[in-house]
């Protein structure tokens, strides 16, 4: 049914750990960049917020060695909620918490469809928390296209690896598309028209989230 020749593989606890770890590495490497973006239309803390949170997530995961994917997601979500604060803490926290709730308890492997269901639940959590819509110039504008691309790629039977790459590419496009937008949600909305011409910091960190996912899935 598809021309894709790769194995569709499966998401394991190791995949999730890799995802979180690479995301930590990417936000750390991009700490100054994220804060730079947040200086232009926010309060200059998005880089340190994400780095602090993901450092704690990786430390926590390493110290308790969760046994299932749901546990991993829940632990990551709880840790983010407890250590980040700001807008990104509850939003990224809710994302992972909802991913966790949508994962069958005890599962240590997920196929691409089940994993997609988790991610979709995460996105819905972000929307439930933050009420952002497409075009509001938030992390939603990177996350929603990323999931759409993931679903579409999986839908045509492609590998998890291909789906990860597609999601990352779509997130990056979504991030870039935030530049001309007038912010409607979050701190940048106080700037009104002055928010135009700047990339939303959350969309940039979300792009890193999907780049990290692409790397983690490349081993599946």
């Amino acid at each position: 049914m598809t021309a894709d020749t790769g194995s569709t593989g499966a998401v394991s606890t190791a995949t999730i750990i890799a995802w979180l770890t690479v995301f930590r590495d990417l936000v750390t490497a991009n700490n100054a960049y994220l804060t730079e973006l947040d200086s232009a239309i926010g309060d200059a803390d998005h880089g340190s917020n994400m780095t602090r949170g993901m450092d704690a997530v990786v430390a926590q995961v390493g110290s308790v060695a969760p046994e299932s994917i749901a546990e991993l997601f829940t632990s990551a979500g709880m840790t983010l909620v407890k250590t980040v604060g700001g807008a990104s803490g509850p939003l990224y926290g809710t994302f992972f918490l909802r991913c966790g709730s949508a994962t069958p308890a005890g599962a240590t492997q997920l196929d691409s469809t089940a994993f997609g269901t988790c991610l979709r639940a995460g996105l819905e959590g972000v929307v439930a928390r933050g009420k952002a819509q497409a075009g509001d110039k938030t992390m939603f504008d990177a996350m929603a296209p990323a999931l759409a691309a993931y679903d579409q790629t999986v839908g045509r039977g492609a590998s998890l690896s291909a789906a990860g790459v597609a999601a990352a590419v779509a997130a990056a496009t979504g991030r870039d598309n935030t530049e001309p937008l007038v912010a409607k949600k979050g701190r940048a909305s106080y700037l009104g028209d002055r928010s135009v011409g700047h990339i939303d910091p959350g969309s940039a960190s979300t792009t890193l989230l999907f780049e990290a996912l692409a790397r983690a899935l490349s081993d599946t």
Partner: protein, 332 residues
């Protein structure tokens, strides 16, 4: 970056150690970064908690004490605290009469307090009410945006509802009073220079000689517009006019706060207050009480904000009631 700190990542922790050393009358939970009144919980009194990013001192930790807050949760610099901090504070200050969460309208603060309230509802029997302040007229309000920021009114609100809680009002009354105060107050701010977030290491924005940011908040975020600087008199008008256009203050006694952003000398704040008071007088607004000084700051940003709160005799009585905190003290 020039700051009196040890390390950008330990600023809040280290400052809490100093606060503990300076104020033995307070109780500091260093792990959860919560500043408590020494005598909280007080049986039968509604507990009042607030919190927010650090860097706005004396807000909120400086307003913990008799006649004001029971606890304040400190976040990282300009980053709202987390739900577990607020949940812990909520449990600790409940004297059986419930707890009011005083939240400034920023997405981060609102979301984290919201999660805390959900946790309090599911994990404890504590009755929680939340009031969100959103008094900043610089921001155009709309159902479809994050709305206005909560700024100066928060200070006045914490004082007044603090006195109401001390006087024994119940949670519903206090929440209603808090909402009424928020609806009756408006603020507007400006900055001559940016501040520097310690972890960022450089000023959030550059503001050349001759220019100012009009309509800034308290997080070093750029304002609504960048305009030429002017005399104190001009600037006072640019702050007061939008406030008076937004709400009718004639006919009720008002409390005015001329607030410094942190780096502006008191001499200039008094000078600005003189200009603000003159405009209010000319506009027929009766200034019954005032505060001049650094109350809700943005690190070392220079600039100021004006807050005008419409009151009545009951509110003024609560305002005049004794308060004993590090940042605001009278009658005690």
């Amino acid at each position: 970056m020039k700051k009196l700190i040890n390390d950008p990542s330990s600023v809040v922790r280290d400052a809490l150690i100093g606060i503990a050393a300076a104020h033995p009358e307070l109780r500091i939970d260093h792990e959860n970064r919560i500043i408590y009144r020494g005598d909280t919980p007080k049986k039968g009194k509604v507990g009042l908690i607030s919190g927010g990013g650090s860097g706005h001192e004396p807000l909120h930790g400086g307003f913990v004490g008799y006649g004001m807050l029971d606890a304040a949760c400190a976040g990282e610099v300009f980053t709202s605290p987390t739900p577990d901090q607020m949940l812990e504070a909520t449990k600790q200050v409940d004297g059986g009469a419930g707890v009011l969460h005083i939240v400034k309208n920023y997405t981060g603060d609102v979301l984290n307090f919201e999660m805390a309230a959900e946790l309090a509802a599911s994990e404890t029997g504590v009755a929680v009410e939340s009031v969100v302040t959103n008094d900043d007229v610089a921001v155009q309000d709309s159902l479809w945006t994050a709305g206005r920021r909560g700024v100066g009114v928060t200070v006045l609100l914490e004082k007044i509802v603090g006195a109401a809680a001390e006087a024994g009002q119940d949670l519903a009354q206090i929440a209603a009073l808090a909402r009424r105060i928020n609806e009756s107050g408006r603020s507007m701010g400006m900055a001559l220079t940016s501040c520097t977030v310690p972890a960022a290491g450089k000023p959030t924005f550059d503001l050349p000689e001759g220019e100012m940011e009009l309509g800034v908040g308290i997080h070093g975020e750029p304002g609504r517009t960048r305009v030429p600087t002017g005399t104190a008199r001009d600037i006072a008008a640019q702050l007061v006019d939008p406030i008076l256009r937004d709400l009718d203050f004639v006919g009720s006694p008002v409390i005015v706060m001329l607030n410094g952003m942190g780096g502006t000398p008191l001499l200039e704040l008094y000078l600005m207050f003189g200009e603000v008071a003159a405009i209010l007088n000319r506009s027929g607004v009766t200034v019954a009480r005032n505060l001049v000084g650094n109350y809700i700051t943005s690190l070392e940003m220079t600039g100021c904000s004006v807050t005008v709160l419409k009151t009545d005799n009951d509110m003024l009585k609560l305002w005049d009631a004794p308060v004993n905190t590090a940042g605001l003290r009278w009658g005690a």
